[in-house]
């Protein structure tokens, strides 16, 4: 009865493999598709941790929207086969620094996340107190999000506003040479101004 442990290893190993594929594939579209696979696996991992709202938000926002944005960007850039031009000695120290920071974060996770099932042997326990006080995941998020962290909430609204304005300013280009249909102009046009009788030469 180690189904959740098995699923944890399944999701995490798939996420690792897919993220390796993201950085090693040369075709950018394929690596974006593997990024989607990483997101799906991370959603499964969050579901295993019990954070169901976060997991489905990850699916909706990242897979549904951000990955599509990445695909658009990749397809807009018109990348054919590219070769890496960064030198080996330039890449390596940045990689080591980033990896050590991330690994340090990961060690903090392992302290309270029981990866190998050392703390619980065969017992399958349900903490009925936390299940029974009837506070779902979404309610737990919502109880603090709009009151205690309301500053961050409104700040996120401002960030979204900046993103919206920036996207509109950067990508808007109205062509003036196309003829548009203006319905209110068509409907306001009256008979007297548009039809006139002229005398042709006999």
């Amino acid at each position: 009865m180690y189904t959740d442990l098995f699923l944890y290893f399944l999701f995490s190993s798939f996420a690792l493999l897919a993220s390796l594929m993201v950085i090693s594939l040369s075709n950018a579209v394929h690596s974006v598709l593997f990024l989607i696979l990483v997101f799906c696996n991370i959603a499964g991992l969050l579901l295993l941790l019990g954070a169901e709202f976060l997991s489905f938000m990850l699916l909706i926002v990242y897979v549904g929207a951000i990955a599509v944005l990445f695909l658009f960007v990749v397809m807009m850039l018109n990348i054919k086969k590219t070769s890496t031009t960064l030198s080996f000695f330039f890449n390596r120290p940045i990689g080591i620094i980033t990896f050590s920071i991330l690994f340090n974060q990961l060690l903090g996770v392992f302290n309270d996340f029981d990866t190998f099932g050392l703390k619980q042997k065969d017992l399958i326990w349900i903490s009925w107190i936390t299940e029974h006080n009837n506070l779902t995941n979404i309610q737990a998020v919502g109880k603090v999000f709009y009151t205690k962290y309301s500053f961050l909430f409104i700040l996120s609204g401002l960030i979204l506003l900046v993103a919206m304005l920036g996207a509109i300013i950067l990508t808007m280009h109205q062509r003036t040479d196309v003829k548009k249909q203006k319905i209110e102009l068509q409907l306001n046009r009256n008979f007297g101004g548009s039809v006139k009788f002229i005398n042709l030469r006999k």
């Binding site: 397809m75 399958i124 779902t136 109880k143 979204l160 109205q174």
Partner: protein, 121 residues
């Protein structure tokens, strides 16, 4: 062990079955048919004439604009969802913080409307 696992186990079974089914269909269609590829078969099909160039053509940037506007209002809806669940339990301040949030995004929406960002010529 959490109680939600028992509820999500049905989704897990569904996921496993769909995974097996898609692998089966793909591998059968790969294995059962004769594989004799030639130049004409693997090239991109365009009706009536030889293909001009690669099928991966570049997009217009306006698709990107539509996608990012979709993303922003998608996030707005996902912020509204937990708010609507706990609205009876949080103080009035929580209600007004959401109104301020919606007001900020409405400013962007009005800007987008008057700028004509969603009109497609």
């Amino acid at each position: 062990m959490k109680l939600i696992f028992t509820e999500y186990s049905i989704i897990l079974i569904f996921l496993v079955i769909s995974f097996i089914l898609s692998i089966t269909i793909f591998s059968l269609s790969y294995l059962l048919i004769p594989q004799k590829a030639d130049q004409e078969k693997v090239s991109a099909y365009e009706c009536g004439f030889n293909p001009f160039d690669d099928a991966r053509a570049t997009f217009d940037v306006r698709f990107y604009l539509v996608a990012i506007l979709f993303l922003i209002f998608d996030l707005e809806i996902s912020f509204l969802f937990p708010w609507s669940l706990v609205l009876g339990n949080i103080p009035l301040f929580g209600f007004w913080s959401m109104i301020v949030f919606l007001g900020i995004l409405t400013i962007g929406f009005v800007y987008e409307w008057y700028k004509g960002a969603l009109e497609w010529e």
